[in-house]
């Protein structure tokens, strides 16, 4: 019986591997098909190449921009703004959540304001930010942060409140102060929620920064998009979009890596 079972197991493992390979292959096929169809349709003039460009044009432009180095300038500006906006939004949101957790009075007072601010489309505040902070990267970072800070506050505050009170009881029974209980128990117990808001905030920060760059129009991938749109250079628009897709995915993957590292021991 034993060798037979062993064989069944190895068949099972092979089945799993086969399925995984099939998934990867299909994913790759979709990608290739997409670009091939795009190229073909543009070459046949079924898609207007003036509006939709084509993969070869985008690629050539990208190579040009890589060789003159300008793509790195724009990418790094946008990346810098996004990362800073993302970190600021998350840290400020978590800090505000901690304040609300600390004071029940404050949290009751703030409740309606948070509801209003959360419902508000934050990008609509763009012009005000530019007037207040000047048409530079400060406004753009502020936009990246603002877009995620309220939702982070609300979600993380709820996580703080939902920490099992028995954990707090354990630490309090040792005579821990409120501050100590917060840092030893409430905050680490909420890490899973904070990490999952990080994942949402990565996406939000990109939205805020790109819209900010649309408005400020000086530098960055958002600027390239709006510029390409205005001079009818859609090859530039498409190239910027592709670069954004790659960078945003990489950032998201990094957060997932962090999540896996931090969550390793939680059941």
């Amino acid at each position: 019986m034993a060798p037979q079972t062993k064989q069944l197991h190895s068949e099972y493992v092979r089945g799993l591997k086969r399925e995984k390979r099939l998934v990867r292959l299909t994913q790759l096929a979709i990608l290739i098909l997409f670009f091939a169809a795009w190229e073909y349709l543009a070459a046949q003039r079924i898609l207007d190449p003036l509006l939709f460009s084509s993969p070869t044009r985008v690629w050539n432009l990208l190579m040009l921009r890589v060789s003159d180095g300008s793509i790195f300038v724009h990418s790094s500006v946008t990346l810098f703004e996004t990362i800073l906006g993302f970190i600021l939004g998350t840290v400020a949101g978590t800090g505000m959540a901690a304040m609300l957790w600390w004071s029940r009075f404050l949290s009751r007072v703030m409740d309606p304001y948070l509801v209003v601010l959360n419902s508000m489309p934050k990008v609509a505040l763009g012009p005000i930010l530019i007037v207040g902070l000047g048409p530079g990267f400060t406004s753009i970072i502020a936009m990246g942060a603002l877009i995620s800070v309220i939702i982070t506050t609300i979600v993380v505050y709820n996580a703080f409140r939902e920490v099992d009170e028995n954990y707090v009881k354990v630490i309090r029974s040792f005579g821990a102060s409120k501050q100590r209980s917060f840092f030893s128990v409430v905050l680490p117990a909420s890490f899973p929620t904070i990490i999952s808001t990080l994942k949402v905030n990565v996406g939000l920060a990109w939205v805020g920064v790109i819209v900010g760059e649309f408005l400020v129009s000086k530098q960055g991938l958002g600027y390239l998009i709006i510029y390409g749109f205005q001079v009818f250079n859609f090859t530039l628009v498409m190239m910027s979009l592709l670069v954004i897709a790659v960078l945003a995915t990489l950032m998201y993957q990094l957060v997932e890596l962090l999540e896996r590292k931090l969550m390793k021991h939680r059941a």
Binding site: N166, K169, V170, S173, G175, R266, A267
Partner: protein, 266 residues
């Protein structure tokens, strides 16, 4: 040993909970003492305020009236003098067993190398010395509850408060842990107050059993566990001929509170 001096004393303790629409009197006119080195169990109908009582001893709750005295001084806030063990282990899942059992020492600021060593020795003594660098999720329920016991003992409290610490375990693990906890507590000459639903557990582990009345709770009756049972381990005590007599007595007394409590009991 100063066996006869009281370590813990309740003096006319009252506790009332307030909500917007009602006042609930949980405890009223409660008086009793626990001597140094004694093991006392609290039993009573469900919802009679046993956990409230422990919370007041630990300083997590203040009585509405009356006094809770620990070693002669008023309990006003949580202190390292009392250790608390809950129904479940509540080990912090993000810390290793080592860090979990040292958290009390770090919190009270009493951490020293010697105390860490003492805690690690306790861990070995209790049979989970091989798991110090593992995370709680890697341990079984019984092992986790043992780690929780060590976490409580690491700060060397004078008084141990056990709030149904075995109720979440399967029966076999529970019997084994009763023996282990009982042995450990006796060896370290600790005073303990155990809250339990389980009459057998109360008899097997304690020197005295305090039965509380239904809400508002006060002392209904105190049972002395016969000397021939006291010296035994809980498992042996459960098999002793004197065990079932006391069990019946306590059972009848609990039944006398009437069927009104039955709906609330599990």
């Amino acid at each position: 040993m100063l066996l006869l001096t009281a370590l813990l004393e309740f003096r006319d303790v009252e506790k009332t909970y307030f909500t917007k629409t009602s006042m609930t009197e949980a405890i009223s006119g409660l008086n009793f003492t626990v001597s140094r080195g004694e093991f006392v169990s609290l039993i009573g109908p469900s919802g009679c305020g046993k956990t409230t009582l422990l919370s007041m001893v630990s300083g997590l709750l203040r009585p509405t009236a009356g006094k809770v005295l620990l070693d002669g001084s008023l309990v006003e806030r949580p202190t390292p003098a009392t250790g608390y063990m809950l129904q479940q282990d509540y080990l912090f899942p993000w810390l290793t067993i080592r860090k979990n059992i040292l958290i009390g020492l770090h919190t009270t600021g009493a951490y020293t190398r010697e105390k860490e060593q003492h805690a690690l020795n306790l861990l070995k003594e209790i049979g989970i010395g091989d798991h110090i660098d593992e995370y709680p999720s890697q341990l079984s329920g019984g092992m986790r509850q043992r780690a929780a016991l060590v976490r409580m003992l690491a700060t060397e409290p004078k008084l141990l408060l056990l709030d149904e610490p075995f109720s979440a375990l399967d029966y076999q693990t529970k019997l084994k842990l009763e023996d282990l906890v009982s042995k450990t507590i006796r060896m370290h000459r600790k005073t303990a107050v155990l809250v339990t639903h389980d009459i057998g557990e109360a008899i097997a582990m304690s020197d005295r059993i305090v039965m509380l009345s239904p809400r508002p709770a006060s002392v209904h009756r105190i049972f002395r566990v016969p000397d021939e049972l006291k010296g035994l381990l809980p498992f042996e005590a459960r098999n002793h001929p004197a065990f079932s007599g006391l069990f019946q007595e306590i059972w009848k007394e609990l039944e006398s509170f009437g069927t009104s409590n039955e709906a609330a009991s599990q």
